[in-house]
């Protein structure tokens, strides 16, 4: 319990990270496929804004390039690819899941609390930024897992995976801020390749099973 506040920079960075986490929760409660993809675009935008903000604070030009690239890729290209698939699949509009949004949100809240607790106990020294940012990054990863587990249609699961990458990139901003730009760009482009493959496989799934739902994928067992 700190009555002494963190510095203003810390506070703004923490707030942005918390906003990303809130959008992740929003994805858990979204009812339409399209709104889920749009929320992912918003989440990527906010995460890129965090990168830009840290670039301003630490006077590092590389972070701006990273922010710009990630906006171009994650806010524009990826949602376009996924939305195109949703449009082409015809009738699928709503998410399907095994839990009501309220139940899933409660589980996600417990998981997020556990993530904050675990980060606090892990002994990771984060100089410069408050532990809230790392805690919310780990919470984003954990809630993304909940999203992937609870949902039973390919688009939601894929968007869950993409938001997991968002969480990892927020974590990298905190913990590995000095990572050479080339490596971060490699990660981004690798994500893009993964998105393309996800898109192809989503289409294959839709062609074969005539639906975007994975609730019937029970042929292979044992």
């Amino acid at each position: 319990m700190q009555v002494v506040a963190p510095s203003a920079v810390n506070a703004v960075a923490s707030t942005i990270a918390i906003l990303v986490l809130l959008v992740e929760f929003g994805m858990l409660r979204a009812g339409l496929l399209r709104s889920q993809v749009r929320l992912y675009a918003v989440q990527s935008l906010i995460a890129s804004l965090l990168a830009a903000f840290l670039g301003v604070v630490h006077q590092e030009f590389e972070l701006f390039i990273l922010a710009g690239l990630s906006i171009a890729l994650k806010t524009v290209v990826v949602p376009l690819v996924v939305l195109r698939l949703v449009r082409q699949s015809g009738t699928a509009v709503t998410v399907s899941g095994s839990l009501k949004p309220a139940g899933a949100a409660l589980i996600a809240l417990c998981v997020a609390a556990f993530s904050f607790f675990a980060v606090g106990r892990s002994g990771l020294k984060v100089d410069g930024l408050s532990p809230t940012v790392l805690g919310s990054a780990v919470a984003i990863i954990a809630v993304a897992f909940v999203l992937m587990v609870v949902r039973s249609d390919v688009v939601s699961q894929a968007v869950g995976f993409f938001s997991l990458e968002n969480g990892v990139s927020v974590a990298s901003l905190v913990v590995a801020a000095g990572m050479p730009l080339i490596l971060e760009v490699a990660f981004l482009f690798d994500l893009l390749v993964a998105v393309v493959v996800f898109g192809v496989l989503m289409r294959v799934h839709h062609d074969q099973h005539d639906t975007l739902s994975t609730a019937r994928l029970t042929d292979l067992r044992g």
Partner: protein, 318 residues
């Protein structure tokens, strides 16, 4: 010339009593303007109160004394709460330590309880429906309020509202803390529920099936109805004052008992309340009313935000 502290405290209660209907009227006017109408005059609630005080009051058959006492109890509670929270001043006033912030929310809950019991007492269907709905949703918003209070307590290290306010105003970084911002958002959502605005309830509709809070007061008439209407306007203003003076914009408060700072404090307070009212009105006109079962999701979202606020400060240090 300095006012004695208890005079200042009386001014606090007086400000709330006198200006609460005015704030309501201002909000109604802004809402009408946004909708393209001319709207009622800003002072209309005062005229309504005056009219109601002149009418006779009736009670349903079989209603007990509680039905008639409840508006008085509620009004008394709403007169008490401004004693506890920082309304006009930054320094503590006598009787200001009578209750901490938990005590303040207990008194507000007592008021709501009294009105709900009176509504259940009437035996009329719509009032009972409103009473049960309100109680249910209050039960859902109580945890949110508690977590918001916990957050502010963690942030400031105390649970006395005056001391809380002084910590929050101490620096910009205190205002920007994510826990603080999250708690503000959660409190704002609770205020929308408690003052029965969209997206929870239509403020000016007369459709009884959609009413939650308004349905409770359908059976009262005459001076009792006036007290209830005044009381709910005062509750709205008190909640706005909590939001403003503890969270959002606690500037402009008087630091001494001299007349001019007190006057400035009164004026800025009323203006700030009107500003919050404008924000509420804009939200009112931008969203549609949630269906009844979705209100739980709305409150769950507020709960989520408040729990995150506690988590970030308790486990995250932010």
């Amino acid at each position: 010339m300095q006012f004695a502290p208890f005079v200042v405290q009386a001014f606090q209660v007086g400000t709330v009593v006198i200006f609460a209907p005015g704030v309501s009227g201002f909000i109604a006017k802004v809402e009408a303007r946004l909708q393209g109408r001319r709207g009622p005059r800003v002072l209309q609630p005062y005229y309504d109160l005056a009219k109601l005080f002149g009418k006779e009051s009736l009670a349903p058959h079989g209603a007990s004394a509680g039905f008639l006492i409840a508006p008085i109890v509620a009004f008394a509670c709403y007169l008490t709460v401004p004693l506890l929270i920082p309304v006009l001043t930054t320094y503590g006033l006598p009787l200001g330590t009578m209750g901490d912030i938990l005590g303040g929310s207990l008194i507000l809950a007592l008021a709501a309880f009294a009105v709900a019991v009176a509504a259940a007492d009437t035996g009329a269907p719509y009032t009972q429906m409103g009473s049960s709905r309100t109680t249910t949703f209050s039960a859902l918003t109580e945890p949110v309020m508690l977590f918001v209070i916990f957050t502010v307590g963690f942030l400031t290290g105390t649970d006395l509202p005056y001391k809380m306010a002084s910590t929050v105003t101490s620096s910009a970084s205190q205002v920007l803390r994510p826990a603080h911002l999250l708690a503000t958002a959660a409190l704002f959502m609770v205020i929308l529920v408690e003052t029965s605005r969209i997206p929870v309830e239509g403020h000016s509709s007369t459709n009884e099936f959609g009413m939650i809070e308004h349905a409770r007061t359908l059976e009262h008439s005459g001076p009792y109805a006036a007290l209830l209407a005044w009381g709910s306007a005062m509750k709205q203003m008190i909640l706005y004052i909590l939001l403003i003076n503890l969270f959002v914009a606690p500037w402009g408060l008087a630091t001494s008992g001299r007349p001019l700072p007190i006057l400035i404090a009164v004026v800025t307070l009323v203006l700030k309340c009107c500003a919050v009212g404008c924000l509420v009105t804009v939200i009112d006109n931008s969203f549609s009313k949630l269906r009844l079962f979705k209100i739980t999701e709305f409150v769950a979202a507020a709960f989520l935000v408040s729990v995150l606020a506690v988590l970030t400060i308790y486990l995250g240090g932010g």
